[in-house]
Amino acid sequence: MNVDKVTWVKDDQREVTRLCAQAGLMLLQHGAESALVESVVRRLGLALGMDAVELVLLANGITLTTIRGGGCHTTARRNLDRGINMHAVTEVQRTMLLAEEKQLDAAGVARRLDGIKPFRYPRWLVSVMVGFSCAAFARLGLLAQGAEADLGTYVLTFAASAVAMHVRQWLASFQFNPLVNFAVTAFIATSIAAQGVIHGWVDSPKIAMSACVLLFVPGFPFINAVSDMVKGYINTGISRGVMAVLLLLACCAGIVLAMTVWNVWTWL
């Protein structure tokens, strides 16, 4: 048997295993649901010439094995959450699709995966848009009640949530634990809204108080948690769901603290 050829085959498989792990880890870090991670990694491995790719997903790690001609390669990676980023998820998926269409070989996939720079919107723009979003929630809340429009409520909600979102992004840039971050920023949002209630700037204090903390509702993790569980990934589903509930509880701590400090109990 030609020894050189055997080593080449092994190195080739090792490289594909490494690429599969890189792609899967990137998807998991940026908030893709488990079914998507598994299908993208499996299809990438098959497109690059493996016979099978088996994948075990955990909330904080990924283990995968590539199989070719009876030879197995297994690797494990630790997962650190990088925040939800649909741009990165889209790019990884397109790389896999190009590999499936034979437009990229292993070296091309490696270049493309290394070249993915997760896109982020400018902080101030996100803060302003989230402020408008929460003001829109306030209007929707009034609309559902059939109440009249109230400009004061919208302005107050906008200010409270835009400031809170800006602080949230600023604290996140210092790598604070998200639970700490959410508790602190929920305190700030409720405190600003409470000023309006104390000074009587708004006609519907309950709407202002509740709309300005809606930016903290972890909608994406909740939806991912349920769809993971529906599709049979009970483990990751439970982890994501518990994390989302903890984030909500952290916000609650911030809200209750702010309501105690300013003695404004309009919510309940």
Binding site: G31, A32, E33, L36, S39, R43, I84, N85, M86, H87, A88, V89, T90, Q93, R94, L97, P118, F119, R120, Y121, L125, V126, M129, V130, F132, S133, C134, A135, A136, F137, R139, L140, G141, L143, A144, G146, S210, V213, L214, L215, V217, G219, F220, F222, I223, N224, A225, V226, S227, V230, K231, L248, L249, C251, C252, I255, V256, W267, L268
Partner: protein, 160 residues
Amino acid sequence: MNPLITLLQDFGLAAVPAVGFAMIFNVPKPALKYCALAGAIGHALRFALTKPSLPWIGPLPIELATLIAAGVVSVIGIYWAQKWRAHPKVFTVAAMIPMVPGVYAFTALLALVEIERKGYSEALLRTALDNGLRAFFIIAALAVGLALPGLLFYRRKPVV
């Protein structure tokens, strides 16, 4: 107010949080307009389905209306996903955000905190259970509605 104008207002207002939260999720720029449209369609559809003035079928419970709205958005999302070569969740999850029951979830948790502070009372426990269960069922309806096309039509096939 004219019901049609109310519906149009709901349609326009729901697009704003869909875009705002799509930016938190870093959805690529060209996809933002799809998020806005899907968010508006979903929320306005749910709004219309829960109105008492709805002809023939009458007002639907909010959970069922959410399931239908999420299913419709998911079907639209699959069409865009195939055109755009991206996973449908890129468009559809941001579109679900206006329908996420944030106020119910927070009210339920705050009622629990109140029980801890003031001691048990039936009114507080009722608030916690009513709001918590409603939040849970609406979130489940959102996720299952999004998964419906996959569960019914794309059973073993990938969408993209």
